[in-house]
Amino acid sequence: MNAPEPKGKFRVVGTRPVRPDGIDKVTGKAIYGPDFVTAGMIQGAILRSPHAHARIRSIDTSKAEALPGVKAVVTSADFPGQSAKIIAAGETSSSLQNIAATCMANGKVLYIGHAVAAVAATTKAIAEAALKLIVVDYEVLPHVIEVEEALAEGAPILHEGMITKGLDPAPDRPSNASMVFTLAGGDVDAALAASAVTVSGHYRTAPVHQGYIEPHACVASWNADGQGQLWISSQGHFDLRNQTASVLHMPSSDLRTYPLEIGGGFGGKTGIYLEPVAMLLSRKAGRPVRLTMSREDVFNASGPAPGIVADITIGASEDGTLTALKLEFWNQAGAFPGSTIHSGVMTALGAYRLPAYFARGWDVVSNFAGTKAYRAPGAPQVAFVVESCLDDIARKLGIDALDLRLKNAARPGDPGPTRVPHGAIGYVECLEAAKAHPHWSAPLGPNQGRGVAGAFWGNYGGQSTAAVALAADGSVQVTTGSPDIGGSRASMAIMAAETLGVPYESVRVTIADTGSIGYSMVTGGSRVTFATGKAVIGAAQKVIATLVERAASLFGVEPGQVEWRDGAAHCLDGERAGESLSISAIAGKAGQFSGPIVAELAVNPLDYLPAFAVHICDTEVDPETGNVSIIRYTTVQDVGTAIHPDYVEGQMQGGAVQGIGWALNEAYVFDGNGRMENPGFLDYRMPVASDLPMIDTVMVEVPNPAHPYGVKGVGEAPIVPPLAAVANAVARATGLPMRQLPLSPDRVWAAIQAAK
């Protein structure tokens, strides 16, 4: 823990108080998605496809409907027709057709686990028995999983008529490539040809899952008058409400949506899967319906992160100055188009000064669950490719890996990924902190290697609403619509307390349902402490303005003669100069004024700044087994300002460990039928406590001048460097290139054997 001490200029920001929702979460009282119960609730179950790709000829649900205890059966025939209209779907966007088809297959199944029908019954056992009575007649079609298969001549086409967007001229035939995104500048081929050194590589990673421990769950109630209620654990109940209402062709305000506590999301809980199905079941049954996913369902039918295939060439001069970067990558998007190729392309550009560059990403569909955002969506895979290739350059030139990055790192004012100049970024500060850290110069033992990687995530602003209300006793109620995944209630309370000048404990934070506050976008994009924080601070400032106005009236002076300081109004002038009125003294007199003191603020800030991170990783490779152990790990990150340092460190540590899992063990493994062979936590091997050392954190604070307390957003950047940091460490331990993830023991062992 390298906490900066609370700085003189802040009273509460930078301290580490206990989170307000803490006791509920350590005593088992907190109500998560699968915990919620409402009166009259019945149980739903979903029939899922056993085929990776098949046409649905017919579905016969008559026997299921006749089973005693069954209250409703739903298929795609119960969904309204969908348009191709594109709507926001969490951190990305998608067509209504594809959003609906993610919830229920329409005409074709596109992956094993794709929902084809659903039942609601008085018990879960009856619902599951009813599923076995549903007869689906499938015409099985050939399927594709890997990008190369999906793009091969004569490959089965998932979405008939899909023409690749972003190519000029447009292709004249449909394919499984939905889109191409390219950013280019300068003559990259000429620059590479003129470079003193160039390094090329072919890279590959597998699809991985966010691995949140709480499976998806919801309860829906839809009445005959068209009004409904949804109880969900999600990263954004407003966005999930909007998606559900859009798919069901109902006004959003008819669907009041309540946020339950969320058991992890990492981007995977920004879209709908169960919600419209539960709604349709509820309307038919006339009862509230619960739907849940099993862990196997979560792996097969929620949204993993794409695998990637990539080719890269980087050029440099003798002194290590980068001359050009050329990258082309193909995202394994899963069943639906819209994987995050844009952020992948941006990841390749913007961290380093590049005189010439060409970066192109392809979005390629194939027959497994459609991918979804996963923490810095699209960035870790591309950073693995770029930062591994940079390490090759450093070795080839005999330059220290951090020095190479320092020499080329983007500084404030340098072009960002889209050539908009960077603002107050802190990459150089992070690289210097990494170099100064004792880890970088510590000795290594036999079979050990040290890797480093740097990277950034752009962060986001986005729409948020917050309200600040004072009770008559002066205690403070903050209300937002941003689900708290990792302690954001605490950071909201800290920022409100700092602004108002009151104790942290006098501020309480509610995450309100869609009927109780205005819209807020998903908790994603590392945006909540920044954007929702701005809304909270702004609303608190409006509250202060009212307090000052009322205090002035009570003092008998003009508002300009009252100063708000330390949670009280101080009279600066007139007969009562030197006197003060506390927040409770003013709030308690609301009846003498125009009513209670409340302020609401909606924001959509665009002045967010990217977060840069540098990770150092030491690995030890067992030459007999190929097993890789992480023996030391240090994360350095420009965090802007750490509002609650415990939860900032927690983001850095958690992101690093997810990245370590991605690098070493995690992968979707498919058999020849397109079936995931490891849809459980035994075989989809996420890191456990005994796999890891302590994760050291160094918080570099280069504040964002556009945020009152300097916040930048910290949640996603920590997962961007670790894939390359681990791979570079293994490459240095073995002396062999490591260009395919995961670096499982068999793969590392095979590489060692092949080199003998």
Binding site: R19, G28, G211, I213, G263, G487, D646, V688, S690
Partner: protein, 162 residues
């Protein structure tokens, strides 16, 4: 299919429930008994979110049949605090920010308390191996290990003062 009546003790209190022959203890706790603090993350004994004590033995309640609880004593997360007084493990989880989403937390706390009952002074490695059956996807385990270590120190101090 008739239900089976089970008489058991939960967190020191007598408890009775009806269950199906194939029902898991976790489902009985969460359903019939309304104790939703124990979580289901996997249903296959791999994540530890459903960890409870059964006659003093740490188990994944998703792998125990509800009927096996007959005549036995179960301790769940709901019984870790004494009334409103938090157990040192709970308090140290809060003090160290050792939870983010909090979904795995009940399982970790039950498991960590069990560790400190058999090993009052575990080193980092012992803590990490004892908790290797509990998955946390948010924290990277660092702050959990520190919290358990701090709780151990607090408990040792309590004991030596007693």
């Amino acid at each position: 299919m008739s239900k089976i009546a089970v008489s058991t003790t939960v967190n020191g209190d007598p408890a009775e429930f009806l269950c199906d022959a194939g029902e898991s203890l976790l489902d009985a706790l969460r359903g019939s008994l309304g104790l939703t603090g124990s979580k289901e993350g996997c249903g296959s004994g791999d994540c530890g979110a459903c960890t409870v004590m059964l006659n003093g033995q740490m188990v994944c309640s998703c792998l125990v049949l509800a009927v096996e609880a007959e005549g036995k004593s179960i301790a769940t997360i709901e019984g870790v605090a004494e009334g409103s007084v938090l157990h040192p493990v709970q308090r140290q989880f809060l003090e160290h920010g050792a939870l983010q989403c909090g979904f795995c937390t009940p399982g970790f706390i039950v498991a960590a308390k069990a560790l400190l009952e058999v090993n009052p002074d575990p080193d980092e490695t012992e803590i990490r191996y004892w908790l290797a059956g509990n998955l946390c996807r948010c924290t990277g385990y660092d702050k959990i290990v520190r919290a358990v270590s701090a709780a151990a120190a607090e408990l040792r101090q309590e004991r030596s003062a007693a």
